[in-house]
């Protein structure tokens, strides 16, 4: 049984034609940023950088959930794991990120109960099976995972589960785009906008950003043809000086997005200022759990003392996330910092730019 509408987006003949169009149009230097970690992986995996003319630089932005999680949040996760009656549940990559003096992986080796789950529903099941323990889900990510976490909080309340908590460190993408446009030393000519964040928030969520900055923006899918087509559209917009907010992922993204997911997210969360790794605080760029659901809010129900904490010394993740540097500019890259001994989260996460460089640019 063929998978619907996938083969076409991997068709080398179509890809080749698009590359020729890009090469034909893209003679001036152009800097494009993809702000989704899965795009970064797909670009490396399919060798897309190598297909494009040298004039086009692809920069990886702030779309890797683990990479943007602030150091004080990582430290809080580690502290939470040290409570005797707590079971930590989380998605995979987070556990390797080094905090100030440990990582969740090290804590697990020391006997703390830290479990990797596939979805928030698995975390709820852990809570149901362990009524005497407090189960905390570490919520990092963007508008794609936020509704799944909101749904789990609502379900926990409906099921009257009193031992399920969420530590919410969620971030929102559109405010990060505006931040990048204002950041000193960052120059971006166009954005490849994320696929699945856009499935949730819809094209409309980018309108205020686009109207204010008039920067070319194209929403892209994850297959090679999807990404090449988005690059092609951006190059044409830049060349003709006609910026647009376009959608190259029509089979998944609509103007209004997934209203049901937006409603559940708004029900459970409200926006708040958030701290991004290596970047600092961006106003109204994060989510926190509303007071009605405070009994599920780990930041309120546990004494964690979120202290300010600086990023690892010498790590350039912040500059990499804002497109000012690439991993090979970091003095620690491949020396002190490797996937086995990561110093910053960009080397930990499979979606991190340093990890992708390490894997796909063997030297």
């Amino acid at each position: 049984m063929p998978i619907k509408h996938l083969e076409e987006y991997r068709d080398p003949a179509i890809a080749r034609k698009i590359v020729e169009q890009i090469t034909f149009a893209g003679q001036k230097p152009i800097r494009l940023m993809e702000v989704c970690g899965t795009h970064t992986m797909s670009i490396f995996k399919h060798g897309i950088r190598g297909l494009l003319p040298e004039t086009i630089s692809l920069l990886s932005g702030q779309g890797c959930p683990v990479c943007v999680t602030a150091q004080n949040e990582i430290n809080s996760f580690i502290r939470l794991s040290r409570f005797d009656d707590v079971i930590i549940t989380t998605f995979g990559d987070l556990i390797k990120v080094p905090g100030a003096d440990s990582s969740l992986e090290k804590e697990r080796a020391d006997g703390r109960d830290i479990r990797i789950v596939y979805s928030t529903f698995d975390a709820l099941k852990v809570a149901q099976k362990n009524p005497l323990k407090k189960v905390v889900f570490l919520g990092v990510g963007f508008e794609t995972t936020a509704p799944t976490i909101a749904a789990s909080i609502r379900s926990a309340v409906e099921m009257k589960l009193d031992n399920y908590f969420v530590f919410c460190a969620h971030k929102l993408l559109p405010p990060a785009l505006a931040f990048l446009m204002e950041a000193k030393g960052t120059k971006i000519d166009g954005f490849i906008l994320p696929g699945h964040v856009s499935v949730i928030i819809g094209i409309k969520a980018y309108l205020p950003f686009f109207e204010h900055y008039q920067t070319p923006c194209v929403i892209a899918g994850f297959e090679p043809v999807d990404i090449l087509q988005a690059v092609n559209m951006l190059v044409v917009q830049i060349k003709t000086n006609q910026p647009k907010l376009s959608n190259a992922y029509q089979r998944a993204v609509t103007f209004n997005g997934n209203q049901k997911a937006q409603n559940i997210m708004n029900d459970v969360f409200e926006t708040t200022d958030a701290r991004w790794r290596g970047i600092g605080t961006i106003p109204q760029s994060g989510l926190k759990i509303r007071d009605e659901f405070a009994i599920c809010d780990a930041s309120k129900m546990f004494e964690i003392n979120m202290t300010a904490s600086s990023d690892p010394k010498g790590c350039a993740c912040g500059e990499i996330l804002t497109g000012q540097k690439i991993p090979t500019d970091c003095l620690l890259y491949r020396k002190a910092c490797t996937p086995e001994t990561p110093i910053g989260p960009c080397m930990v996460s499979s979606e991190g730019t340093c990890a992708a460089f390490y894997r796909y640019h063997p030297m």
Binding site: M1, I3, K4, H5, L6, E8, I14, K17, I18, E20, Q21, F24, C36, G37, T38, S42, P65, F91, Y118, S119, T120, F121, D122, G141, T144, T145, P147, T148, A151, S155, G195, H196, V199, I200, G221, F222, E223, V225, Q229, Q250, R251, A252, N258, K260, A261, I264, E351
Partner: protein, 77 residues
């Protein structure tokens, strides 16, 4: 994080679907989707179906892609 491949719903029970991703069976919550049916192709993120692929939309965008590729090709010097 994002699973790019659309999955087919093969069974629905209490807001949970069994989905088929390229031959592998998995579970996905349907809480974020309106009116899902068996046979629908959906995009799944972190164990939740987040979008139902509309067949007509998908074919239309494919047609546009093919047109965009060949038309500007003919115009090339």
């Amino acid at each position: 994080m994002c699973l790019a491949i659309p999955s087919k719903i093969v069974k629905i029970e209490n807001h949970m679907a069994t989905i088929d991703v390229d031959g592998v069976k998995r579970e996905a919550s349907l809480l974020l989707l309106d009116e899902p049916k068996v046979g629908d192709y959906v995009i799944v993120h972190a164990g939740f179906a987040i979008h139902k692929i509309d067949e007509a939309d998908a074919l239309e965008s494919l047609k546009l892609l093919r047109e965009a590729v060949s038309i500007s090709f003919e115009k090339k010097p």
